[in-house]
């Protein structure tokens, strides 16, 4: 079987399964969002009334956690299955990476569509983007996708570390926290982050190009680490 065909199949199958999880996830967050909206009175999120936040802003943080968890369980849930079916670790790696980009973009798209509809219904929507009220839709969409994918990659690294090294995987949690913090610091425009202080940016803001480049580099580094850890990993007979 041609390798190209196999990782494509892995990507399709994993996208299908992870999208099912994502559908449940976003459905639940949406239900909570609606309930809070109508029944909670004056709930404040990010120091603003919940009513002024868009769904996209609301779902951003839970999506990071969701993708982190999806990443953590990826190796232990899928790699043994695929190897048992004669799929190489390499094909699993590419398939899983592709499916996670698709799921990240899919989550963003659903949140984006819901927020668009929300904008038509509600006139008081101030904070439509987690990047600030003046951020463009395109920028918001790209950053949303990239950041939650970075969380997936971080989780993937933790799962890979634990699968291969058992308790030694704890070190991979630290590594992952470091990598994810790097990504977060690149997008935290409004807060003075340790990196900002460290690099002494005059106005406390990181240029957009650096944020993008930095995020892509961190993601690439994380993926390379995942591949190194899983490249020759022993599959446990379970």
């Amino acid at each position: 079987m041609k390798s190209k065909k196999v990782f494509g199949k892995v990507a399709v199958d994993m996208t299908y399964i992870q999208s099912t999880w994502a559908a449940w996830f976003i459905g639940i967050v949406f239900a909570v969002y609606v309930l809070f909206h109508f029944f909670s009175g004056n709930v404040e999120v990010y120091n603003q009334s919940i009513g002024s936040h868009s769904f996209l802003t609301m779902v951003y943080s839970p999506s990071k956690v969701f993708m982190l968890v999806v990443g953590i369980i990826s190796v232990s849930s899928f790699l043994p299955f695929f190897v048992q079916h004669g799929v190489t670790r390499r094909d699993y790696f590419y398939g899983s990476a592709i499916s996670s980009v698709v799921v990240s973009a899919g989550l963003m798209s659903v949140a984006w569509i819901v927020t668009m509809i929300e904008g038509l219904i509600k006139s008081d929507l101030v904070n439509h983007s987690f990047l600030g009220s003046d951020a463009s839709w395109l920028l918001t969409a790209v950053v949303f996708t990239l950041v939650i994918f970075a969380y997936f990659a971080g989780g993937w690294l933790i799962g890979a570390g634990f699968y291969r090294y058992g308790a030694g995987g704890i070190l991979y949690i630290l590594l992952s926290i470091l990598l994810i913090s790097l990504v977060e610091s690149l997008w935290e425009f409004k807060k003075v982050h340790f990196l900002v202080v460290h690099f002494n940016f005059a106005n406390g803001e990181i240029p957009m190009s650096i944020s993008f480049l930095g995020t892509l580099l961190v993601i690439a580094l994380t993926l390379v680490l995942v591949r190194v850890v899983t490249k020759r990993v022993r599959i446990k007979l379970k």
Partner: protein, 293 residues
């Protein structure tokens, strides 16, 4: 051709050597019985072939190529073992479809025929099936995948005797229709010996022997009769094991029996019997009987 070669293969778990300098060749298109007392050691050997792990040293080749991370070879090797399905929410149908997606020669009709024979419920979640039913599902996937190399590592666990019979019959039948390499690892030797063309005995991390079953059984006989007569005949033979009751002795021999010896046994009035593979296996691997073959 999917000839399998292990050359000086060693596997270590910490300081413990699970496999010690294994060199063995399995020609394509036969049913092999892999027998040994220690299940974990057999599983280690088989999981190397299935690319679940790499050896500490030595080389494994299939068709001249290393199977590890080789997509072409890996898709033609199927390793069936007792899987833990307690978190598997998919049903039987779903798992069969998954196998079909990744196995180029998967025969869906045959899979459904086996599902019928094993009485497997297609719509039930796999985690709710009994252990025997889960084994039947594994076996179904293994056979229907029709990979060039199919490994059944004690795949019958949990099956009752009639279900095991269905399994053995299906192996023989499908092998006759689609010849390929099938490796059956087992400790139920007496029940499965008729399936094997060749036998590999693994003991204490080493290959004790690898021989065609017929030739092996020709070498394994027992002489029964008066103690002194048995001793006279077997004095220059490799005696694996003896049993005595009163003045009667039974000696189990391993080695090619010459016509001369056969005639002498008749002359001494000894009863000559072929040993079963099971007896031979037990005697070769018994603690008091450490044999170099």
């Amino acid at each position: 051709m999917f000839d399998i070669k292990f050359e000086h293969v060693t596997v270590k778990y910490g300081d413990n050597e699970a496999l010690k300098d294994i060199t063995v060749e399995l020609k394509d298109g036969k049913i092999y019985g892999l027998i040994g007392i220690n299940g974990a050691v057999k599983t280690t050997l088989l999981s190397l072939l299935a690319s679940f792990m790499e050896p500490a040293s030595g080389k494994i080749t299939v068709n001249g190529q290393e199977p590890f991370e080789n997509a072409e070879i890996m898709s033609e090797i199927n390793f069936i073992y007792e899987k833990d399905y307690k978190e598997e929410s998919d049903n039987v149908k779903g798992l069969l479809e998954a196998a079909e997606r990744y196995r180029p020669n998967f025969d869906k009709e045959f899979a459904h025929e086996l599902v019928r024979r094993f009485n497997l419920p297609l719509d039930k979640p796999v985690k709710s099936l009994s252990r025997g039913m889960q084994s039947a599902l594994n076996v179904t996937i293994g056979l229907a995948s029709r990979t060039a190399i199919t490994i059944f590592d004690e795949a019958y666990l949990g099956m009752d005797a009639p279900t095991r019979e269905i399994f053995y019959k299906a192996v023989l039948e499908d092998y006759a229709n689609h010849p390929r390499t099938i490796i059956l690892s087992t400790h139920l030797v007496s029940e499965m010996d008729y399936l094997f063309e060749e036998v590999v005995i693994l003991h204490k991390g080493r290959i004790l022997l690898k021989e065609p079953v017929e030739e092996l059984l020709e070498k394994a006989v027992s002489f029964t009769g008066a103690k002194e007569k048995v001793d006279e005949l077997t004095s220059d033979m490799r005696v694996l094991h003896t049993q005595e009751l009163g003045g009667v002795k039974r000696a189990f021999i391993y080695g090619k029996l010459s016509e001369e010896k056969k005639a002498k046994a008749r002359e001494l009035g000894l009863e000559v019997e072929s040993s079963s593979l099971q007896d031979l296996f037990i005697q070769l691997t018994s603690e008091e009987n450490e044999h170099e073959i």
